[in-house]
């Protein structure tokens, strides 16, 4: 089995142009960072009401996807789906790459990135952010240990893989809890926020793994049994249904209670309704499900990849909705009163991202891309040929 892994050649002109593309975006992202750092956050479009902008959407999306990307390896190691064992190196490595990209954006969007190390010197252990510092670094260590055992100490794989799986659940719970524990924000103060983040991470992480596997195998001329793609598709279907279930339960609960129905009405019909209905519901849930359940598209690789792209776009829309609607929705400090002030109390926050924020975010994505394509060139992460076991037939529409 070990011999089956082979690094890609990485000598083609398209490989180098991809390298150059990612490199350029990393450089542009670095430029965007220095531009913001030098001029202050005044050059972004963030305000005192929407203080976390587009960079946070990119950062959190990548971090959420990171834990989801480990799913494939967990399926093999923890849940005994042996046919995914051949992808577990890829899966753990991708998780690290995504985490690195996301963390870079998160850290570079600080108001004072020069003081970043203060988080190591002065720690407030009540803060969800401090916990996340440990969760992120711990997750990277876990993934490295997992990779190490996979490559050299097979007998510890189960241990390392199970630990990494447990950690990824805690990690995404932590990421979701950044929002879930904030009592001040009715939009996301909920015990179900963290589980929803986990479901979203599973669907988007699986979708990204699927896309990268298909694209990498195709462009390097490797063979992959279509049954494996169908198996991944079924996982994606399951996770997308899970996301749908959780958001329906959450909306139902908040619509049911008279003290929270204002928030639910805002989500469904307020200023961010397009982001919610169009981005989260249609692109993130309905469209992928439709495509995957229709026999014509659901069984073709093209259709499945399209649904996966939708799923990732839906994930980003979900994070963007949590962030933007959550912050823009005004505080109800004096219930029963209409509130106005020079500080824009009582009015919905307006935010439209600026170019420099987009470039910073794309820079983070490019870091992930760069790490990934360098990884598959320099490490033996992927099998020469991905085979499915005889007699295994995943469900198909």
């Amino acid at each position: 089995m070990i011999d089956n892994y082979r690094a890609i050649e990485g000598n083609s002109s398209s490989y180098f142009s991809l390298l150059a593309l990612f490199g350029t975006f990393v450089a542009i992202g670095a430029g965007a960072f220095f531009y913001i750092e030098h001029n202050g956050h005044g050059v972004t479009n963030m305000t005192n009401q929407v203080v976390w902008g587009l960079p946070h959407v990119f950062a959190i999306s990548l971090l959420v996807m990171a834990s989801g990307a480990l799913n494939l390896a967990s399926m093999a190691t923890v849940f005994g789906a042996k046919h995914y064992k051949q992808f577990r190196r890829f899966s753990a490595f991708l998780a690290i790459a995504l985490l690195a990209g996301g963390l870079a954006v998160l850290v570079l969007d600080l108001g004072r990135p020069d003081r970043m190390l203060l988080t190591m010197i002065h720690m407030n252990f009540k803060s969800m952010f401090t916990w996340n510092v440990f969760l992120y670094s711990g997750f990277i260590v876990m993934c490295f240990l997992y990779l190490w055992t996979m490559m050299q100490h097979e007998r510890f794989v189960k241990l390392a893989g199970s630990a990494a799986f447990g950690f990824r659940l805690i990690l995404t719970t932590g990421t979701g809890s950044i929002f879930g524990v904030i009592a001040a924000r009715d939009m996301f103060h909920s015990a179900i926020t963290a589980p929803t983040f986990i479901a979203v991470s599973l669907s988007a992480g699986t979708a990204l793994s699927l896309i990268l596997l298909v694209v990498t195998f195709r462009s390097t001329g490797r063979e992959m049994d279509i049954k494996l793609v169908h198996g991944l598709r079924n996982m994606l279907v399951f996770f997308t249904l899970l996301v749908a279930y959780l958001i329906v339960v959450e909306k139902f609960t908040s619509l049911y209670a008279p003290n929270t129905d204002d928030v639910a009405h805002y989500v469904l019909g307020g200023a961010h309704k397009m982001l919610y209905w169009g981005g989260v519901v249609v692109i993130g849930v309905l469209l992928p499900l439709l495509v995957l359940f229709m026999p014509a598209s659901g069984n073709s690789v093209g259709g499945i990849v399209f649904a996966s792209i939708c799923s990732i776009a839906g994930e980003m829309a979900f994070i963007a909705h949590v962030l933007f609607a959550g912050q823009a929705y005004p505080f109800d400090m004096f219930p029963g009163y209409e509130i106005t002030s020079v500080f824009l109390d009582g009015s919905v926050g307006v935010y439209w991202p600026s170019l420099v924020e987009l470039l910073l975010g794309l820079g983070g994505m490019a870091i992930t891309g760069l790490i990934y394509i360098l990884g598959i060139k320099f490490f033996r992460l992927l099998p020469k040929k991905a085979v499915a076991p005889e007699g295994w037939a995943p469900w198909s529409p």
């Binding site: 976390w52 803060s127 952010f129 106005t340």
Partner: protein, 243 residues
């Protein structure tokens, strides 16, 4: 003169030794020292009925005292204290106008979420931002239900007629009302309270809740008062009367 110099040097030397041996201890000898008192609980009581809707004396006094910058962009202007107009949705209660500022909670969510302990509660209950330590992550702004905090989006300059005793702002850090901590430590009232009294409204009362003889403690005992977002259990130290 020589004696003078010597005694000053001696004091300095003692202070230096103190710095090295026990930080904080050396200051006991100095007569001109003040320190936050852990037995105090600074609080404010705002009588909504006395607050005039067209009066902004408190907000402008705050701006002058603390060099609070205006950038000419309402989405980014910084307000440590702002006047808020309330209109009853059912039309039964009269409209009111009142100042809203940092509530200096006993259990401040901003302090809970701050990763570097830049936001903290001082011994005497004043919630502050250590601007030397803030990394500008803005999590506190997400957590505060009073919208009391602002990020400094642009570089600032000491304005004409500004107060040189209060620092201006470095961009990229979060700031908010300090209860005029520099004045309180000096035995004075916060600038907003003083301005309100000067205008003759007397709508703002400031004092030590832990002192049963203080006017604010007596008032809060004798008249019905409330706090904003009581349901969150943050125990704010800004109380409102007549709301």
């Amino acid at each position: 003169m020589t004696m003078d110099r010597r005694s000053v040097l001696g004091l300095g030397g003692a202070a230096a030794a103190g710095v090295m041996l026990a930080p904080g201890l050396h200051l006991i000898a100095a007569p001109n020292k003040t320190e936050a008192d852990g037995n105090k609980r600074w609080a404010m009581l705002i009588d909504v009925n006395k607050c005039a809707s067209d009066c902004t004396a408190c907000t402008s006094a705050c701006r002058t005292e603390n060099n609070v910058p205006m950038f000419g962009d309402p989405t980014r202007d910084i307000h440590w204290i702002r006047k808020v107009e309330l209109k009853d949705k059912s039309g039964r209660r009269p409209s009111v106008s009142l100042p809203v500022l940092c509530n200096h909670c006993e259990e401040p969510p901003c302090v809970h979420v701050c990763p570097t302990e830049a936001s903290f509660v001082r011994k005497d209950g004043i919630v502050l931002v250590d601007k030397h330590r803030c990394i500008g992550c803005r999590y506190c702004m997400i957590a505060c239900p009073y919208k009391a905090r602002s990020l400094v989006y642009h570089k600032t300059k000491l304005p004409e007629g500004g107060n040189p005793d209060v620092p201006i702002r470095g961009s990229g850090v979060v700031e908010k009302c300090t209860f005029c901590v520099h004045r309180v430590d000096d035995g004075k009232l916060p600038a907003c309270v003083e301005a309100c009294n000067r205008e003759g409204h007397g709508a703002m009362l400031f004092g030590d809740l832990n002192d049963p003889e203080s006017e604010i403690a007596k008032r809060i005992k004798s008249v019905p008062t409330t706090t904003v977002r009581k349901d969150l259990g943050l125990e704010p130290h800004v109380h409102y009367q007549g709301l």
